[in-house]
């Protein structure tokens, strides 16, 4: 890493951190927001530390202490791959300050590699939160040699590099392929969705492929044994061996392969960098438009339509906000052809569960997909430099947020209803149950929309450098997402548990009422916030 690369990395980090705001802004409101954002993030890191440590306690109590390094490496590798894959296209390609950076005497390789290193440094607190907690847990249960701690920490910094490079390279290939098409944005989005769905189904594809194969026994062991994860993805084994037995070869391999791969990936990316960005960032305006009859819309619908165009105009926004809807649609479509019992059997890997006990959880399963991201959580921040447009219009703020919320309902409800109807049909639930599930999922969509909007307004950030900062890693999205998903998972368990002990429809009705009430409260909160 040369001097210029360090300089650029330092500037990228400085330009996106809140420290500069705290240092140089005098407005106490902005400073307060910046400090609040940092505290919020710290709380999230802390939650991850606690969760990871508790996981270690579980493994330790079960006598699986030796598996902790493997579990830790698996979680970090998976997080690194997923985080990077969804961010790559926004960070590496078609970013805002591309013109400014490319006109300076930096090589394309330096810019691309520094953007990658920026992602690496920015994501490191997440990986460290998992790793440090698990290191402490492992240390306690294994009575580890003091040398374990420095080795563990050093390897934590190396471990995410390979999955991040693989994710970046896949992102690069997708950008390269789509750069050759006229509708680049659509092609890029479709390719990303195809790849994500492929990743989701990979495990099941492997299992299906080996059903009548002699290697079935071997692969069944692979999926069943934590220890064997390392034989599927070698860097995990290198990490675990480095920690458990101070295997120098493993440590050197992990470091060496990461460095070689880094050089190789950015040699290739750097070669095509300008070409891809040129294709993605330059378009000729079509001059074939003929004036036709125009339609009128209500103000709220006009804002909702603007939100639709904002989402479809940004590949990063579309992929992140639309993933849940795509998953819900696929879940519904699969349910049309595969019986509900079979789906449950596949998901639970053939555990002896009576599928009917899962029926009341149908809306929550759909909500787990749909509620992943609410557009309302990021759309206030996404106004960015265009904020003045909405602010200067003769409409009340609450109308603006009503439009934003309406769009999220337009986006989520059809997919949620489709998936719920298909799953209910596949499960052959009575019509009354299906109607209750529909009411429940719509109430959940309303809650997701309004709660997202509260988070979006409370943690609005307009001064972003890259829209990924607010779409993927903004405080609003994080505060919306994590509790929402954890509560949803908890509710699935609770509903199944309660459904076995009392009338399951009553449980569903209770959830519908609570979700509806929370949605109404959050809506009121949004109206209150928009009066300020």
């Amino acid at each position: 890493m040369n001097k210029k690369s360090m300089l650029l990395l330092k500037t990228l980090l400085r330009s996106t951190s809140r420290i500069n705001q705290i240092k140089y802004v005098k407005d106490p409101k902005i400073r307060g927001k910046a400090i609040g954002g940092m505290i919020g993030l710290f709380v999230l890191y802390l939650m991850i530390v606690v969760y990871s440590f508790m996981m270690c306690v579980g493994y330790g109590q079960l006598g699986l202490t030796d598996s902790i390094p493997i579990i830790c490496a698996s979680i970090i590798s998976m997080l690194a791959f997923v985080f990077t894959f969804f961010k790559t296209n926004g960070y590496l390609f078609a970013f805002k300050e591309y013109d400014m950076l490319m006109s300076l005497p930096f090589s394309a390789k330096t810019i691309a590699a520094d953007k990658f290193l920026y992602m690496y440094v920015a994501s490191m607190p997440w990986y460290l939160s998992v790793s440090v907690a698990m290191m402490i847990g492992y240390g306690i249960y294994a009575g580890a040699n003091p040398l374990v701690y420095p080795v563990w920490l050093v390897l934590t910094f190396v471990l995410p590099i390979i999955p991040m490079l693989v994710a970046s390279f896949i992102g690069f290939l997708i950008a390269k392929v789509s750069a050759g098409f006229r509708h680049k944005n659509i092609i890029q989005t479709v390719l990303i969705f195809v790849f994500v769905i492929f990743c989701f189904s990979l495990q099941y594809i492997i299992e299906a492929l080996v059903k009548s194969d002699e290697t079935k026994v071997i692969l069944e062991n692979v999926s069943g044994s934590i220890e064997d994860i390392g034989s599927v993805y070698l860097p995990i084994a290198w990490f675990a061996d480095g920690i458990r037995s101070f295997d120098v070869a493993g440590i050197l391999l992990l470091i060496g392969v990461s460095l070689v791969l880094f050089e190789l990936v950015f040699m290739i990316v750097g070669k095509y960098y300008r070409q891809i960005n040129s294709a993605l960032k330059s378009h000729g305006a079509d001059k074939a438009y003929k004036m036709t009859a125009q339609k009128t819309h209500s103000v709220v619908n006009a804002i909702a339509f603007k939100e639709f165009k904002r989402m479809t105009g940004s590949q990063a926004y579309l992929v992140n906000a639309g993933l849940g809807e795509v998953l819900a649609f696929l879940l519904g479509a699969i349910a049309l052809f595969v019986k509900f019992e079979k789906i449950i059997s596949v998901v639970t890997k053939g555990a002896p569960i009576d599928a009917s006990i899962v029926f009341p959880a149908i809306p929550l399963i759909v909500y787990f997909c749909i509620g992943m991201v609410a557009t309302t959580a990021c759309s206030p921040s996404l106004e960015g430099k265009n904020y003045w447009i909405m602010q200067s219009l003769p409409i009340e703020q609450k109308t603006i947020y009503r439009g934003k919320m309406l769009y999220n309902m337009y986006l989520t409800v059809p997919f949620a209803v489709f998936a719920t109807v298909c799953l209910s049909f596949s499960a052959r639930v009575p019509i009354v149950n299906a109607i209750i599930y529909l009411a429940e999922i719509i109430a959940l969509c309303a809650f997701s929309t309004t709660w997202g909007c509260v988070c979006g307004i409370k943690h609005m950030r307009l001064d972003w450098e890259n829209e990924i900062e607010v779409v993927k890693q903004g405080a609003a999205v994080a505060i919306y997402l994590f509790p929402n998903m954890l509560v949803c998972m908890g509710l699935v368990v609770l509903v199944v548990f309660l459904g076995m002990r009392m009338d399951a429809n009553l449980v569903s009705l209770a959830i519908t009422a609570i979700a509806g009430l929370l949605a109404a409260l959050c809506y009121g909160w949004v109206m209150k916030l928009s009066r300020r």
């Binding site: 500069n20 490319m102 300076l104 005497p105 090589s107 006229r182």
Partner: protein
């Protein structure tokens, strides 16, 4: 040797539309070269290709004899670019941004302090350099972008609509700086819609229409006693 030489430059977008078609022109040391044309004529695309931001389909762009395609770093070291709407790092202070650019161009501490002070005072922005760029007006951002472009004393300054957003005094100063640069042997290539400014400021001018260079040469050759505005209206309406 010419400071900037564009030979048969062609840029075709992915959808097959030609943004620039076989453009050739030469900018010599001491030239203030105006590049004019309608909105969407291909000015910004050409400028972004000159400064190495945009890839191009055919042709060659040379800066002091070095190819933008083959040796981009060497070209960028002697070039400065001011885009029409500078996207600076908003969370840096003005001085942090200028130091970043000075570091990139490896400007000594003494030189950078001298130049930042000189141009900062000229543009009356020195006192605001300690604030975050996000708090600046458009004109202030433009001033910081101009100072960052001047900090390494470029041989070629390429600007896209540089006067947009500048107050009258800053506009005057920028014009003075352009003259001063050219007297020292550098060259300026810029696009503008303000034909009066181009006429008074430039010694050479090129007119682009639908990606094709339809006129280029010295101001005297081109106007031949007429105003630049009437020449422009004549050629673009043909």
């Amino acid at each position: 040797m010419s400071v900037l030489e564009i030979k048969n430059y062609t840029k075709v977008y992915g959808e097959g539309k030609k943004a620039a078609d076989n453009i050739s022109l030469t900018v010599e040391a001491g030239d203030i070269y105006g590049f004019i044309g309608h909105n969407g004529a291909g000015k910004s695309t050409t400028i972004r290709a000159i400064v190495g931001v945009l890839d191009f389909t055919q042709g060659e762009i040379l800066i002091e004899g070095k190819s933008v395609k083959e040796d981009p770093i060497a070209c960028k070291k002697i070039t400065a670019y001011i885009p029409d709407n500078p996207d600076l790092y908003e969370n840096l202070t003005g001085i942090q941004y200028l130091n970043f650019i000075a570091d990139v161009f490896e400007i000594s501490q003494k030189d950078r302090e001298e130049r930042i002070k000189k141009y900062g005072d000229m543009f009356e922005i020195t006192e605001s350099l300690g604030s975050l760029i996000s708090s600046y007006s458009h004109g202030m951002k433009q001033k910081v972008a101009i100072i960052s472009a001047l900090i390494h004393e470029p041989k070629l300054m390429v600007m896209d609509e540089p006067f947009v957003g500048l107050d009258p005094k800053a506009t005057f100063i920028l014009k003075e700086i352009m003259h001063e640069m050219c007297q020292k042997g550098a060259a300026v290539f810029f696009s503008t819609h303000v034909l009066d400014v181009a006429e008074k400021l430039c010694n050479k001018v090129a007119i682009i229409k639908k990606g094709q260079l339809i006129e280029s040469g010295t101001m005297e050759q081109l106007t031949n006693g007429q105003s630049l505005e009437s020449v422009f209206m004549e050629v673009v309406n043909e």
